[in-house]
């Protein structure tokens, strides 16, 4: 697929190594994630039935995924009946071609965009640029990223890695080249920065003829699309242009209107820690004399059906992109979003990117390891995605290879490079554990040579033992001790306390 992988992206450990040395970045991330963590906890504590809402959200999404073909067809029918046109895109290239054609058919050469993960994922802006169409990002954080020729580093707040001073500098330097320049003497107070964005984008909204969006939810029963936002840029893009094109992943469906009652409670509290976000827009096809008169929905696969084919990994498709898991993750807080080499950073990105793109590249094979498996992401997930479970599952895939689905076809992937020592160790362990005689001989040999064991490991093991004590091998293997003393019954010293050679610390004296 195109657009999804940043070219030349090094594996996570190398990228993270660079990032953690950047003091400004670490300060910015620490400040932002700690601010939102405490607020989210308060917002969640306000509703007494959070656990039940979370469970219902999980079950609604699971039910939808188990019947996804039925609901996709129903959605197509209802959107069409309401005056919209539905397009299907198997991959990023096809989606980009469809959108480019639709924009060209309007005769326009610029579009305004609402922040959308799906269009980031497929690299739509670059594809439009190549065809001479300029896409203006209108979300404040996306604007900061676009003006700074930067990459997004967070699902909800793509410019989370920038502090107010850096944002001021970017606005003052770059806005003029894109349209209305930043006001003279712009300071770094957030209110002034927001005002500068308002003035800069106003003229673009008022003249825009084509808007491009994603959607947070699509209701199969009614054909309704939902966009949840804060600034009003979404409302501008969804209502002022004559043509609206929405690119949405096929997993964003919910069956009925009523199902929104769950997600409109859990999403705002999980993402921005608000009871409700400032603006939510819902629309069903087109409405005469109100809003865009042409509405196109592009349903995007791009690796989602491959993800759906994985019995463990498919739960990642429940994700509603709230980004709570990023905000609590100790690895994300230190490494930042760019190290993940994907528009989906953080814990959810570590399980989503290697499934949408496969584990073929170095960065994707390293992502399942970008975690300490602490489980904080699972605790906060409003649709209960067991991210650690999927991470372990994907690590197994990377090390062992095995059958997966790629572009709809079942293939067998080879074990990834760089795990040869681990595989050799596991093979040796399997061999030894299935041969009791060899295991016993090996254990005895280890016990007898214990005086000569090094305190730090040689070779690649050194890094591990730099900060950890190498376990001491006991003077007598456990199984020998058990056999000799019949389970400890004949191994009592005269004063009645239990002795025995299995206590490595004593024996080592």
């Amino acid at each position: 697929m195109s657009g999804g992988t940043y070219l030349g992206m090094p594996a996570f450990p190398e990228a993270a190594h660079e990032a953690v040395r950047n003091q400004t970045l670490r300060g910015n991330l620490r400040h932002a994630t700690h601010t939102i963590r405490a607020k989210r906890a308060n917002a969640v504590a306000e509703v007494s039935d959070w656990a039940e809402l979370r469970e219902a959200g999980k079950q609604i999404k699971d039910h939808t995924l188990r019947n996804l073909d039925t609901y996709l067809v129903r959605l197509e029918e209802s959107v069409t009946a309401a005056g919209g046109t539905v397009h299907w895109a198997a991959d990023a290239d096809e989606a980009n071609r469809i959108v480019t054609r639709l924009v060209k058919e309007t005769g326009e050469s610029e579009v305004v965009k609402v922040k959308s993960m799906a269009t980031q994922e497929i690299g739509l802006n670059e594809a439009l640029e190549a065809e001479g169409i300029r896409a203006y990002e209108t979300d404040l954080a996306e604007l900061i990223v676009q003006l700074g020729e930067d990459r997004p580093s967070h699902i909800l707040v793509p410019a989370i890695h920038r502090n107010r001073g850096e944002i001021r500098d970017i606005f003052a330097r770059e806005m003029g080249a894109w349209g209305r320049p930043a006001p003279e003497g712009l300071t770094d107070t957030p209110a002034e920065l927001a005002e500068a964005a308002r003035l800069h984008l106003r003229e673009k909204f008022l003249r825009a003829k084509v808007g491009i969006s994603g959607a947070n939810f699509m209701v199969a029963e009614t054909g309704t699309l939902v966009v949840v936002e804060s600034e009003g840029n979404g409302r501008m893009c969804l209502t002022l242009p004559e043509t609206l094109i929405s690119v949405v992943g096929i997993e964003k469906i919910v069956p009925t209107w009523q199902d929104l009652e769950v997600f409109l409670q859990t999403l705002p509290r999980s993402s921005t820690a608000e009871r409700m976000n400032p603006y939510t827009s819902t629309w069903t096809g087109t409405t005469d004399d109100d809003g865009p008169q042409n509405f196109h929905l592009v349903l995007l696969d791009n690796g989602r059906t491959d993800t759906l084919a994985d019995e463990v990994g498919r739960q990642a498709l429940r994700c509603i992109r709230c980004s709570a898991c990023l905000n609590v993750c100790p690895v994300y807080e230190r490494a930042g979003g760019h190290a993940y080499g994907s528009v989906y950073p953080g814990p959810i990105g570590a399980i989503l990117s290697p499934q949408l793109r496969g584990t073929g590249s170095e960065i994707d094979a390293s992502l399942p390891y970008a975690s300490s498996l602490c489980g904080a992401c699972y605790d906060v997930c409003p649709v209960a995605i067991d991210i650690p479970e999927v991470l372990v599952h994907l690590r197994e895939r990377v090390v062992q290879g095995g059958p997966v689905t790629r572009e709809g076809a079942k293939v067998v992937v080879k074990p990834a490079k760089g795990h040869a020592a681990e595989r050799a160790a596991m093979r040796a362990a399997r061999w030894a554990f299935s041969r009791p005689g060899a295991l016993r001989a090996g254990q005895r040999l280890a016990s007898r040579t214990r005086r000569f064991h090094p305190r730090t490991l040689p070779g690649p093991g050194r890094a591990w033992s730099d900060s950890r004590a190498v376990p001491t091998v006991p003077a007598e293997p456990f199984r020998d001790w058990w056999q000799r003393t019949r389970g400890g019954n004949q191994d009592r010293t005269q004063d009645g306390t239990r002795g025995g050679a299995q206590d490595g610390k004593d024996a080592a004296k």
Binding site: V47, D49, Q59, W88, E94, M276, T282, R314
Partner: protein, 215 residues
């Protein structure tokens, strides 16, 4: 094969392991969550709405039906507005006490025309107390969606307690998904700078809510 057929075929293969027991949607999962949070009297629900609106920086005003025209006139005067956008079906009595120039909601106007209007006055479809949310559904007394988007000052009238519900589930029950809906919880805001909330970006930066009782 069309991409539509290709994607649907991929979906069916991907979920081939899942037993299709034909469980209907209605029985597929438990809705164990609450229809509303807490036990409140009608008056307390209205108070909660006012409290939550104010918490997100909406300016909340209370008045009786008889005082409504004077209240709206005062708000427009305090703001210094010279013009006000008016939905086609707005009760003319609401604006009876003001001399401010009316700009009727018209399909012929461009967004730039609307950008020159100072204020807008509308009704709403429903208000949700627990979240401090006003929902507009494009009815004649609320107008086209852009009417409440482009002007920088929005005065929204809520009839209490008739239009107030406690919770999001109760709000959705009252709404028609076929209509284009705008859910508004406080004025335009952003959390994009250091994940801290700042009011005032593209939507109306001032949201005034008039809770009008007794008709």
């Amino acid at each position: 094969m069309s991409s539509r057929d290709l994607i649907l075929a991929r979906v069916r293969r991907a979920i081939a392991d899942v037993p299709r027991d034909g469980t209907p949607y209605e029985r597929a999962f438990e809705r164990g969550y609450l229809r509303e949070h807490g036990n409140r009297s009608v008056a307390q629900t209205v108070d909660l709405l006012a409290e939550n609106l104010a918490d997100y920086r909406a300016l909340v005003h209370h008045c009786t039906a008889g005082e409504l025209a004077a209240t709206i006139a005062r708000l427009l005067a305090d703001r210094g507005s010279a013009s006000v956008a008016v939905p086609a079906g707005l009760d003319p009595a609401w604006l009876a006490a003001t001399e401010v120039t009316r700009v009727p909601d018209s399909a012929a106007d461009t967004p730039a025309d609307l950008d020159r209007v100072d204020s807008v006055v509308t009704a709403c479809a429903v208000a949700i107390a627990e979240t401090g949310t006003l929902v507009l559904d494009g009815s004649p007394d609320q107008g086209r969606r852009r009417l409440t988007l482009v002007p920088d000052h929005h005065i929204c009238v809520v009839r209490v307690p008739a239009q107030v519900v406690s919770s999001v589930p109760q709000g959705l029950e009252r709404l028609d998904p076929a209509r284009p809906l705008t859910w508004i919880s406080g004025p335009s805001a952003t959390s994009d700078i250091e994940l801290d909330r700042v009011e005032g970006v593209h939507g109306p930066r001032t949201l005034e809510v008039v809770l009008v009782s007794g008709e």
